[in-house]
């Protein structure tokens, strides 16, 4: 008999029992009913005494269960509204179960498996693993493609996780942000409404609560920790990840730089392949960009293969980078005679 077992119940057994109990009830269970009857709680329940520790346990368990996407509801007793002891808890079957008409073909399962694999590194890996578990629960098996694909998106920025928490809670965050060209980071207080990756970089589109203006912040330029505040700021309906991406794409299209490239160089091949790049004459390309500093970094990495023609501001950014690079690496005084060319010739 289960009741006769040792009182030490594993956490997953308590959580599983809680889900089963709350799924099985239509009217819901009060907190004291949960604590006194459900496996894992009842062993520690004292009918006469203080159950404060057990109540805190129940609060944490509810959070953990909701984290998995289980719709754990509270039902207020209309006759005694606001009385915490009479709140009832339940998991409505209709919002818990995957609708019966949702199924996935083997091709779809394969595609979703690949989509989940994209996150195998970083903070979304736990969630995509659980999503795969649910797909497998449905019975789907994926066909293995002949060519292996191993796509990967990274979410390494330290700011990613706190921002996602703020996003889920719909609250304002505070962080220090270093704009390129500014000497010091500036404190920002904004309500994030999405997290998007554009051209390989994570950004947080956010609203300034006081002015209502919308701005995109690069996660890599956030300096120090992100503070998640308790100030709630509901997301306006039109503030979506897709609208933010569309805005960034629009910005990218409207910014054009003219660059000269060395013929048949790596720079020519790669810049020509960027979306929207047009040829303007024998060795001149028009490339689009959304952020001048990022483009300056990219163009600098091509070194002598690229010369920026316009805009002048971008040209200056690249020249500055290159000159600083020379200055940072110039130790002529210490140069031993004639030993450096070999490294270049070796292949």
């Amino acid at each position: 008999m289960p009741a006769a077992r040792a009182p030490r119940i594993p956490v997953e057994e308590r959580l599983f029992s809680l889900v089963l109990a709350l799924l099985a009830t239509d009217t819901g269970l009060t907190k004291s009913e949960v604590l006194s009857t459900v496996q894992g709680y009842r062993q520690k329940y004292s009918s006469a005494g203080d159950n404060a520790a057990l109540e805190r346990q129940f609060e944490r368990d509810k959070d953990d269960i909701r984290e998995l996407g289980v719709p754990l509801e509270t039902v207020d007793d209309p006759a005694a509204s606001g009385n915490n002891q009479l709140l009832r808890y339940r998991i409505p079957r209709g919002s818990y179960e995957l609708p019966l008409d949702i199924s996935f073909s083997p091709e779809e399962t394969a595609l979703l498996t690949l989509a989940a694999m994209v996150w195998r590194e970083g903070t979304l890996s736990g969630e995509s693993r659980r999503a795969l578990l649910k797909l497998r629960s449905l019975g789907g098996t994926a066909t293995v493609p002949e060519l292996e694909y191993a796509p990967r998106i990274r979410s390494r920025d330290a700011a990613f996780e706190p921002l996602r928490t703020a996003l889920d809670r719909g609250v304002v965050v505070r962080f220090d942000y270093l704009k390129p060209g500014e000497a010091r980071p500036r404190r920002r207080e904004v309500a994030p409404f999405a997290l998007v990756q554009h051209q390989g970089r994570w950004m947080v589109p956010a609203i300034e609560p006081d002015t209502g203006s919308r701005k995109n912040f690069l996660l890599s330029r956030i300096v120090g920790p992100v503070t998640v505040t308790g100030r709630s700021f509901p997301r306006p309906a039109d503030a979506t990840a897709d609208s933010a991406l569309a805005g960034l794409e629009e910005l990218r299209r409207s910014n054009t730089a003219l660059v000269r490239v060395v013929e048949a160089s790596d720079a020519e091949t790669r810049l020509s392949k960027r979306r929207g790049t047009e040829s303007r004459g024998a060795d001149v390309l028009a490339v689009h960009y959304s952020d001048a500093s990022i483009l300056a970094e990219e163009l600098s990495s091509f070194g002598p293969e690229v010369t920026v023609l316009e805009p002048v501001s971008l040209r200056e950014l690249v020249v500055q980078r290159l000159r600083r690079l020379v200055a940072d690496h110039d130790d002529d005084a210490a140069r031993p005679v004639g030993s450096s060319t070999e490294t270049w010739a070796r292949s």
Binding site: A3, E12, L15, F16, L20, A21, L23, A24, T37, Q39, G69, V70, P71, S95, Y96, E97, L98, P99, L100, E107, E108, L111, A115, A116, E127, S128, R130, A131, L132, L133, K134, S137, L147, E148, P151, I153, R154, L167, D168, A194, V196, Q197, Q199, G200, S220, A264, D266, G303, P304, V306, T307, R315, E316, V319, Q320, L322, R324, D331, T343, W344
Partner: protein, 330 residues
């Protein structure tokens, strides 16, 4: 996906139980081994889960977890034949919905994949996105990844694989001179917006990683491939070392140090004032010049002196292009 994982948290175990029960219901009679294979876990994990399910249930009318309030299994089949048969069911019938974060992760992953040639046409992605949104217990979180640039070369790689033939393309290495390469394509990988082809290089006679956006004039050949991914062990890291590598030491802003993780840096240590110092292996000094020039913050090679000189020389040549044109004084 890999089976090697860190120890599961209680919530992961709960998620597993909630996924396993409906599958067992659908499969009436299934061996432990089959279940383990389907869920890509060990047989011990399946057995532990089944043992737990078999003694779990609801408090029931008596609040005493009476026999009929619990799941039950055919114990003899389980203990003697390693076969799972649920004989009494409680509370659960169907698979759970996706959480908003799970749905968001899959949807964002799908968007990202839509540029892959033989995957995900837009219609398939749209219909899957709709299904996932409908199958989530609350609205999917606002996380999105822009569709990565589609590259004609990727489509050609796909056709070469389908036909089982070698692939040819011009490849401008970092030294700037394009060469015709002939390869057996093995695996397509990506890191954020960058796509790579892992392949057997017939010219170099070895495994090589190619940036797809560096490939031009890709074409199929008549020669059948001689190497398959299943015959070779592809290292996990994209950028592998070779005996010719040189080790360089770089100093970089702390915030940007993570950008070098793919280079498997060693000797990572704190330098002064928010700076990190680390060592990594590069194929030659030209590579490191490009690397530090493209990093945000003030990345700098500190050793060896030959590498520093190579960077200075390279940057000086690049800057000279601007001097020659009489740019505004910087």
């Amino acid at each position: 996906m890999s089976d090697r994982r860190p120890a599961l948290q209680a919530t992961d175990k709960l998620a597993f139980l909630l996924a396993l029960v409906p599958w067992l219901i659908d499969h009436e009679r299934v061996s432990v081994a089959e279940a383990a294979e389907h869920f890509a876990v060990g047989t011990a994990e399946i057995r532990r889960a089944v043992e737990l399910i078999a003694v779990s249930g609801i408090p029931g009318e008596t609040s005493q977890y009476q026999h009929g309030d619990l799941f039950d299994i055919a114990w003899d089949d389980f203990e003697q034949n390693d076969v799972i048969v649920l004989t009494n069911l409680v509370a659960i019938d169907e698979s759970p919905r996706f959480s908003s974060r799970e749905a968001a992760a899959l949807i964002a992953g799908l968007q990202y994949l839509s540029s892959l040639p033989d995957h995900a046409d837009r219609a398939a992605v749209a219909s899957l996105t709709a299904k996932l949104s409908r199958g989530a217990s609350s609205e999917p979180s606002q996380v999105a990844v822009a569709e990565s640039e589609s590259d004609e070369a990727l489509a050609v790689v796909g056709r070469a694989v389908e036909a089982g033939v070698q692939l040819e393309f011009d490849y401008a290495g970092v030294r700037g001179r394009a060469e015709r390469r002939r390869v057996d394509p093995l695996r397509v990988e990506s890191l954020d917006a960058d796509w790579y082809l892992r392949a057997w290089d017939h010219v170099r006679e070895g495994l090589r990683t190619f940036r797809v956006d560096r490939m031009s004039r890709p074409a199929l050949t008549d020669a059948p491939i001689t190497h398959r991914a299943s015959d070779l062990s592809l290292p996990d890291t994209l950028f592998e070392g070779s005996p010719d590598d040189v080790v360089v030491t770089i100093e970089i802003d702390d915030a940007a140090a993570a950008l070098l993780d793919d280079w498997s840096p060693t000797d990572v240590e704190r330098a002064d004032e928010g700076r990190t110092r680390l060592s990594l292996r590069v194929s030659h000094h030209g590579t490191v010049a490009r690397l530090v020039a493209g990093l945000p913050g003030r990345a700098c090679v500190v050793a060896p002196p030959e590498a520093r000189r190579a960077v200075a020389e390279w940057a000086r040549r690049a800057a000279a292009e601007y001097d020659a044109e009489g740019t505004a004084a910087g």
